[in-house]
């Protein structure tokens, strides 16, 4: 029994799950509002955008790259798609399709530059963040878009039901999108050949190339996937806030990065699980929600989030170091 548990103790996800369980227990005891259906729904909706983007960044990180430009990609996709809705109507399918298509195009541009220039992707995508964002503000004049059609404002609600607390609940657009994206990413990374190729390329790109993996193709795919998810997340955000502001997603890149690496995904590529990413997103969501429910002033939120990020990444690094040292003997 103990032997079977031992591999578990080496898993980053295990510690993260323990930490989250502890937090959930503490919060349930300290605040009676925490474990209610309403709060869990709210938490999921408010972390849907983070979760969707985290799935995209996870895939890029596994492939050994990084994308800093996705908030700008998302903002452009959101702006173009929202402008289309305002001028010619449509439905959610067209809105998401346009946003995803714009995201894919911008992602492909990133991929070509990253692959061809052979410079660390963080540099390329920082430069492209400036390029994309500057162009967006220049052409949009920073103007907000609002006054969307009713179908957009109302969103999608499936399985309506009234809970015992008297409120109505349903699977709404942010939650549905989040679940679909997680399922899709899980399928991609665990069950497809492409997913294995992404892991292989991130683990050792030379070796991957020798066994016949088309590195350029995989690079194109991962950045396009990130772009598509950024566009989709941006439409979810527009639906939640019922408006589009060109700069509303700025600065979000580092939060998403924090969530992904909290989940144990390695910056070097090849290592990490989607389950870990979901735990990372959940941890950030629970901390924020829990602190709000406990009435901790908002000024403390960033501090405590930072502290938990530092502790968690230190623990991972320390464990890795110990394991490497043991391996050396």
């Amino acid at each position: 029994m103990l032997n079977r548990l031992r591999p578990l103790l080496k898993q980053h996800e295990f510690y993260l799950a323990v930490l989250i369980s502890l937090l959930v227990i503490i919060l349930s005891v300290m605040s009676e509002d925490f474990m209610t259906l309403g709060n869990i729904f709210d938490m999921t909706v408010s972390s849907a955008i983070l979760g969707i983007m985290a799935c995209g960044l996870f895939v890029v990180l596994i492939a050994g790259g990084i994308d800093i430009s996705f908030p700008a990609t998302a903002a452009i996709a959101q702006y173009i798609s929202a402008s289309f809705i305002l001028s010619s109507g449509g439905n959610f399918a067209t809105a998401f399709a346009i946003a995803a298509a714009v995201g894919i195009i911008l992602g492909l541009i990133n991929a070509v530059l990253v692959y061809q220039l052979k410079v660390p992707s963080i540099i390329i995508t920082i430069a492209m963040l400036n390029v994309y964002f500057g162009l967006l503000i220049y052409f949009s004049d920073g103007a907000w878009l609002y006054g969307f059609p009713d179908w957009f404002m109302d969103g999608i609600n499936l399985f309506n039901f009234t809970a015992s607390d008297g409120y109505d609940y349903s699977l709404n657009l942010p939650i549905i999108t989040l679940l679909v994206v997680i399922a899709l990413t899980s399928l991609l990374m665990n069950k497809t050949r492409l997913g294995r190729q992404i892991y292989a390329m991130g683990g050792n790109s030379d070796a991957a190339s020798r066994i016949g993996i088309n590195l350029f193709g995989v690079t194109l795919f991962v950045y396009a996937y990130m772009g598509a998810l950024a566009g989709i997340a941006a439409m979810v955000q527009a639906q939640i806030t019922q408006s589009v502001a060109p700069n509303s997603l700025m600065g979000f890149e580092l939060t998403v990065l924090a969530a992904v690496v909290l989940g144990g995904t390695s910056m070097g590529g090849g290592k990490g699980t989607l389950f870990g990413v979901i735990l990372g997103v959940a941890l950030l969501a629970i901390i924020k929600n829990g602190l709000t429910l406990l009435g901790v002033p908002a000024y403390w939120h960033t501090l405590i989030t930072g502290l938990i990020i530092i502790l968690s990444i230190s623990m991972t690094a320390w464990n890795n170091k110990k394991q490497t040292a043991m391996g050396a003997i």
Partner: protein, 319 residues
């Protein structure tokens, strides 16, 4: 083009050559379109008082990048030093001793942040991007907490002079930048620590096995980076006559951009201070030039990114 360049006996460093070509192109463009305004003393002075803040931050970023690391906490550190100094100064704005105490407290703050970053990276073994990302969030939280999110303002003239004063027509920030750029150049090129920094960036393992205490060297690097943030904080306070959590956040990625444009290799080991100085001059002339021509500042932002991409492509396809 290549022959012309060699005929002119340009510096052998290819980065610096390209930067000089871009700079020359911008200057010719400005001379042709609005020479009088661009080369006026007022514009030159305003340019040279704007550049140093980004300049010092780019140096703070560059020294970490030389070791193959990165420092995402520079803006948070700058604001932390600024807030600490501001809250002490405003206790007694007229007292010289208070000013000195404030400056010292800012320096201590910087050193503590530097040690924390360095320890996490060198001894705990966290990758620099993650360690400094975590520290950035943590310090931003501290900044919000100590300032309550409000602006602290009202500084004595002795401090403001560092941001707005001139000596013989040369703006004070430029002098500060020159002093620290020279100091950093001396450190990198003429001290053992400077050698270690380049060696760690080239191959950390080999450096450690050749008997150099890389862990100690890394801690020093992040302390120096933080101290540069302290200087940036002084300039920023003097320029804005205030301190606030969240000031200057857009400088973070631009500082990386400037360092890479200046020839600092993102994987570490290569790059010189002179390159960064030139890159900063290029970025600043471009910004001021386009501003005079009435081009939107957002388009300038796009151009900064585009220039970096073009610059990298030039290096890639020429070699």
């Amino acid at each position: 083009m290549q022959q012309v360049l060699s005929a002119l006996t340009m510096p052998s460093d290819k980065n610096i050559r390209y930067l000089l070509v871009i700079l020359a192109a911008i200057l010719v463009m400005m001379a042709a379109t609005s020479g009088g305004t661009f080369f006026s003393l007022t514009n030159l002075q305003s340019m040279s008082s704007q550049m140093p803040l980004l300049g010092i931050l780019a140096l703070a970023m560059a020294i970490c990048m030389l070791t193959g690391g990165i420092n995402l906490s520079i803006i948070a550190s700058t604001n932390a030093c600024g807030l600490v100094m501001a809250s002490i100064i405003t206790q007694a704005p007229d007292s010289t001793w208070m000013l000195i105490a404030a400056l010292a407290a800012g320096l201590v703050t910087a050193i503590i942040i530097g040690i924390a970053n360095g320890m996490l990276i060198a001894y705990v073994g966290v990758s620099p991007i993650l360690a400094t990302l975590g520290m950035m969030t943590f310090i931003n939280g501290l900044n919000l907490l100590i300032s309550g999110g409000s602006v602290i303002s009202g500084f004595p003239e002795a401090l403001l002079v560092l941001g707005n004063g001139t000596v013989a027509g040369i703006p004070m920030p430029l002098i500060l930048f020159a002093v620290f750029a020279l100091g950093l150049w001396g450190l990198l090129e003429h001290t053992p620590l400077g050698r270690y920094i380049y060696l760690i960036g080239s191959n950390e393992k080999a450096t450690r096995f050749s008997g150099i205490n890389t862990q100690k060297a890394l801690v020093y690097v992040y302390i120096i980076s933080s101290i540069l943030c302290w200087i940036a904080a002084i300039i920023m306070m003097a320029k804005f006559n205030s301190a606030k959590a969240g000031y200057g956040e857009s400088y973070l990625l631009i500082a990386i951009l400037a360092a890479v444009l200046g020839g600092i290799h993102p994987d570490g080991g290569f790059g010189r201070i002179i390159g960064i100085v030139l890159a900063l001059v290029v970025l600043q002339t471009l910004e001021s030039g386009l501003n005079i021509l009435g081009v939107s500042s957002y388009l300038t932002m796009t151009l900064w990114g585009a220039i970096l991409i073009i610059f990298i492509s030039l290096q890639r396809f020429r070699s």
